[in-house]
Amino acid sequence: MRALVIDDSRAMRRIVGTILTDFGYEVREAGDGRQALDVLEEGWTPDLCCIDWNMPVMDGLQFVFAVRATPAYRQVTLMMVTTESETGQIVKALAAGAHEYLIKPFTADALRDKLALLGLLPEEVTA
């Protein structure tokens, strides 16, 4: 399975990317929503996007809107991974088309639980 980790922090991209790689994902990274759209437009379609909210150039919510406006990306699962933890923000992201929401700070187990909920945890990890 493929995951695109979108965060302006290299540290956070590395943390999320390492966990997903351990789960067996092929991982690519993008530093903002625009870079992430560039990856999708290359034809590299992920199963999962982990999306930070506050980023320069194009923020996470704008990215979610852009992806949901493109029928070709309909099968991509979108998960916000962000410090934005107010109910209003969560509702806004889910209404825009995000499937799940993970609040920073999080543990590897919390990410694993979210992936299991989404049916995106590889069998070898579930076993």
Partner: protein, 165 residues
């Protein structure tokens, strides 16, 4: 109208125990298993570096993380899980310290009343503090080294008006 001058000071909205409880979640998750921000103050170093994020809303100010450059580098090595001979550069330090401030700031924003916006992290010399009562500071240490988390109101602009955000 809610401005930095008219809003309730942070000392009425947040206490150091809440900041500590947020740090208790952030440290093991970002810095590493078993790591902790210990709220026991130690003497400040001669040179410090800060990372901060701004919060703009009913309360406006910054969440500032301050430590010595050496501690910032050690924190970065932990966050990035680097092991010798790998070394971290200044960009890594700015990124990792900024992300720590970002996660602390985002969680602090969530316990403040009303809807607020969080800025992008910045690193350098901490912004000036505002009113004396508009500060919630938690002095402590990580692995015995000086570290503080300060939630501080925006300093009034010299002309007496707020600095545009």
């Amino acid at each position: 109208m809610t401005t930095a001058q008219h809003a309730q000071p942070i000392s009425l909205l947040l206490d150091p125990a809440t900041v500590q409880s947020i740090a208790d979640e952030v440290w093991p998750s970002l810095v590493g298993d078993g790591e902790a921000f210990v709220p026991v103050p130690v003497a400040p170093p001669a040179e410090v570096v800060s990372a901060w994020v701004d919060i703009v809303g009913p309360w406006t100010g910054s969440v500032v993380l301050t430590c010595s450059p050496a501690t910032a580098r050690a924190l970065t090595e932990n966050v990035l899980m680097t092991r010798p001979p790998a070394v971290v550069d200044d960009e890594d330090v700015a990124d990792a310290l900024g992300e720590l401030a970002n996660v602390l700031g985002g969680n602090i924003k969530s316990v403040l009343p009303g809807e607020s916006r969080l800025g992008l992290p910045r690193v350098g010399t901490a912004p000036p503090r505002g009113r004396l009562d508009d500060v919630c500071a938690l002095a402590g240490q990580w692995r015995g080294d000086f570290l503080t988390i300060t939630v501080q109101g925006t300093a009034p602009h010299p002309s007496g008006t707020e600095v545009p955000q």
